[in-house]
Symmetry: C3
Subunit: 427 residues, 3 copies
Amino acid sequence: MNNIANEMYSLMERLFPICRSITGDGVRETLNILKEYIPIDIKEVPSGAKVFDWEIPDEWNIKDAYVKDKDGNRVIDFKCSNLHVVNYSIPYDGELTLSELKKHLYTLPNQPDLIPYVTSYYEKRWGFCLSHKEYESLKDMTYEVKVDSTLEAGSLTYADLVIPGESEKEILLSTYICHPSMANNELSGPVVATYLAKYFLEKGDNYYTYRFVFAPETIGVITYLSNHLDDLKKHVIAGYVITCIGDNGPFSYLKSRQGGTLVDRATMHVLKNSEKEFKLYNYLSRGSDERQYCAPGVDLPVGSLMRTKYYEYPEYHTSGDNLDIIEPNELLRSFEMYKKCVNAIEMNRIYKTIVKGEPQLGKRGLYPTIGTKTANLNVNSMMNLLAYCDGQNDLLWIAEKINEPVSILMPIIKVLIEEGLLKEVEQ
Amino acid sequence: MNNIANEMYSLMERLFPICRSITGDGVRETLNILKEYIPIDIKEVPSGAKVFDWEIPDEWNIKDAYVKDKDGNRVIDFKCSNLHVVNYSIPYDGELTLSELKKHLYTLPNQPDLIPYVTSYYEKRWGFCLSHKEYESLKDMTYEVKVDSTLEAGSLTYADLVIPGESEKEILLSTYICHPSMANNELSGPVVATYLAKYFLEKGDNYYTYRFVFAPETIGVITYLSNHLDDLKKHVIAGYVITCIGDNGPFSYLKSRQGGTLVDRATMHVLKNSEKEFKLYNYLSRGSDERQYCAPGVDLPVGSLMRTKYYEYPEYHTSGDNLDIIEPNELLRSFEMYKKCVNAIEMNRIYKTIVKGEPQLGKRGLYPTIGTKTANLNVNSMMNLLAYCDGQNDLLWIAEKINEPVSILMPIIKVLIEEGLLKEVEQ
Amino acid sequence: MNNIANEMYSLMERLFPICRSITGDGVRETLNILKEYIPIDIKEVPSGAKVFDWEIPDEWNIKDAYVKDKDGNRVIDFKCSNLHVVNYSIPYDGELTLSELKKHLYTLPNQPDLIPYVTSYYEKRWGFCLSHKEYESLKDMTYEVKVDSTLEAGSLTYADLVIPGESEKEILLSTYICHPSMANNELSGPVVATYLAKYFLEKGDNYYTYRFVFAPETIGVITYLSNHLDDLKKHVIAGYVITCIGDNGPFSYLKSRQGGTLVDRATMHVLKNSEKEFKLYNYLSRGSDERQYCAPGVDLPVGSLMRTKYYEYPEYHTSGDNLDIIEPNELLRSFEMYKKCVNAIEMNRIYKTIVKGEPQLGKRGLYPTIGTKTANLNVNSMMNLLAYCDGQNDLLWIAEKINEPVSILMPIIKVLIEEGLLKEVEQ
């Protein structure tokens, strides 16, 4: 299993250097790498296309960008870190005094060693980001400034993968691929999503259909929803936005807008039964693509299982969010936790006892045959499960009621079905 | 605005000396004064008329009443305070020894300086009320006793005012006008109700229809309900009994019988968001006309917003409840709080976003255009509001969910409607 | 009333020596004695009959059983206590060394003075039970062992009694009669049930129909349900399993599977309003025939009111559970508590006021006629009751809402019905 930990980390290393944005070749390169792992379907939507309240913007690409001092030294250099350029900067070529230049510079005075991550998708600007230390060491002179970018009609790129199951009902797993070189937010998301897709592909006998979405945050998911809304509304019974899932913090879960939906119940049940410490956020703390999935008119039941949530770790949206804060084993723990939660949904059916009254477990070898004061303790879980399988309540409800993790009940259910004592109720 | 404070206090000064009861000229005189301020419709219902389980009693009027000592001094004198006579006392003229007289005297031994307010509407009695100090100073002699009252066929008087709004649905504001010279209970009620009626008349563009009722407590409201029940059941969506609203105590709210109705939700929302300290009573603590409005078979959703509740302040139902415990500015605070609560009901519609997914606020100038870690905090309220306007839940529900006062959300709603992002849902 | 206490204790003394089991003459003898008290209907169901998932076992009877030492002394003797034999032991006659014998001996090392109660209904075994002290004093020798029992085709015996009421809806009272000489579990159950049946027979004017069931635990109730399920599902609105009701511990109540049903609400209301101390168990702590009554597919609303619950008192299922731990007055307290709870169900109808608004209590002599600050306190219960009788909520709901025991409200309801102020609503 450690293989998967290292494989996920290696994939992240491959993806890390690419300069992604909400459009452009960085997205394409990223998706083409993922396609080596799982058979995703890559789509392009042209600039100017209407998607709900939005419009696909011009496509942005960048070759180089720098600020040179009078000696020709690159004092700010895109080639050192793609965070140095404000994402979506328009082309620029000129000479500026320091005071003119400073109007285009962004820093984090409270984190003076880190480069901030800044974007300007919908207002035409150019700018550079740098550490506050570097900023303060800039001398008063004329600088040569160049942003070698293009912002032109092109397209927005996204991908999906649908793994059909026995049921047409779907579990949605969505992640985004639009941030430049940052590791926890965002690369942990696409990396874990890719390996979850591999797992469900290889496992094969899935009850539900699994839909994986890899799209630029916000505009990409709006585009995806705009193209697939009817389908999603008809089929999706639960979904996750996978993000910030690679650090070593305790798990956190951001509930869907409605709260109390299947994804909320399953995730909280699993966390409660497996983690000493975890954190719950309600929808007021939302910040990623659940904003689109749960929006009025879309109304999908989508939550987000994370490690340390965006905004909550100091390296968030800075150059500090790099491979140093990711450990292969933590990626693995996150992968396993997503599997547990999704499996809790996968297993969550309604069961009904076939016999009336208590079944005679003894004649089936399921019960100790000598009745004493203490002998029946070890069949408690089985008896409690049978006592609540009335065809009304689903497995998660019963698990909460009888204080047993779903993971312990599932093998018991298999035995009881084999023994002809239980059946699944059509929903 | 202080004008209103002083105007309300002046009106109370005019009304204070009148000897009101559940019938008679005191009620008529009071309503005729109010008619100088607002165009109320005054009605008379003849003695003997059946109203639900009750019957309109004979009309009571009184010119004078006294107890004279052997020297002809009035030791108890109606002209000094109309509280000195048991309200609804039958006529009497005779001479009595002190011990005979005492059978007809009422005092408050625990509040020896105050005259109690005592009534005997449904059993024919006469009596006098006096301070316990005066009572103890009465000497053993023969007294001349006179109650110059009449109790004869006549009528019961009440008034109402309906201010039509855009909707036929009504908000009911009811107060009573049957107590003699007492200020907080009851004159604060009719005075604040009168100025609320003026406000809604002058404001003009009301969404709901407003119905003001001025009627003697209990029998008057039973009479009103008996004559208007079908209309009220069809239209009233929320209502208040306005009483005990002139002292300087913290606000208190007595919930409707059903609890959790619109008036309960709106009032508790407003109090929670504007007052450091306030008190909630459930319907078991009821004591005024909500007893009729909420009664089984009537079933109107009516609560009561007060300052210090009847029974809870020491001057209640005594001569201590006079103009000294009323301050113009406290009347104004009460008036403003009623406006806030009623406006929270007035504004409480169901809204739905028009676009699917999050709208693009940027292109409408509603969103900062440079995305950094902290820039989006100031649009939180707007985003949260949009995130919950799903056409299912009303504004008060959303306000509670996102922890924002309705008063802050209302201007945002106006902007969003103008921008074509939100619409009201027909209910 | 003390008569009933002593009568119940005497009946228990008569029943105590009988060696009962789930089938056989012990059950028959017990039911025939009960038939001297109440007109129960005794039924036989032949061995081999299918009942739900089960089959009626062969009938077990026993004349004698012993272990004799080499001197012919009975060191273990059924005639001393019928607990000495594993219940349902197959016949045996032979000679065994101590170590061979020990494989068939059962003791309680932690309660070395007590004989355990052990059964082996569904696996063919024989065995003896004895105190651990006796066990340890057994010497190494050859013993003569005899179990003079029969296990042959026969029948299972149960009884019921239906006392018709005004309504076809039924209250079920079930107890079991399959344990040998033990007093609290089980004889307190059939004894109290018998006297409850006598009470409802003699009382006569019952609103609900009362159904008493006397059946062997588990298999007997499964048999009963198998023969009467449609009837029970159609009629039973509430039920109790009566067991462990003779000791002097505080009352305890085990809730039905669904919880919040009529029997749960009534019992908890009564306990809360009459007992300083009581204990609640949810259905996960179940252990008696509610396991069958509440099972999925049966789904009857049945709880269990006990004193100290099975498993919770040290003498449970041992020879210590004998007449010494039963007191006549405690049996009486239990009998009275069952009456209170059942009467709370019997009285629990939906009432509606006939008049609209508050009725005029004064003209009916139900209200003090002089209105002062404090005079109306003593009619609070009546007014609160009237304020909530809206034809929507049943009496138990109202009692909880207004914080009054049902027992105090019932006489008020009678008066209000007589006065024409209240009527019962058809459900």
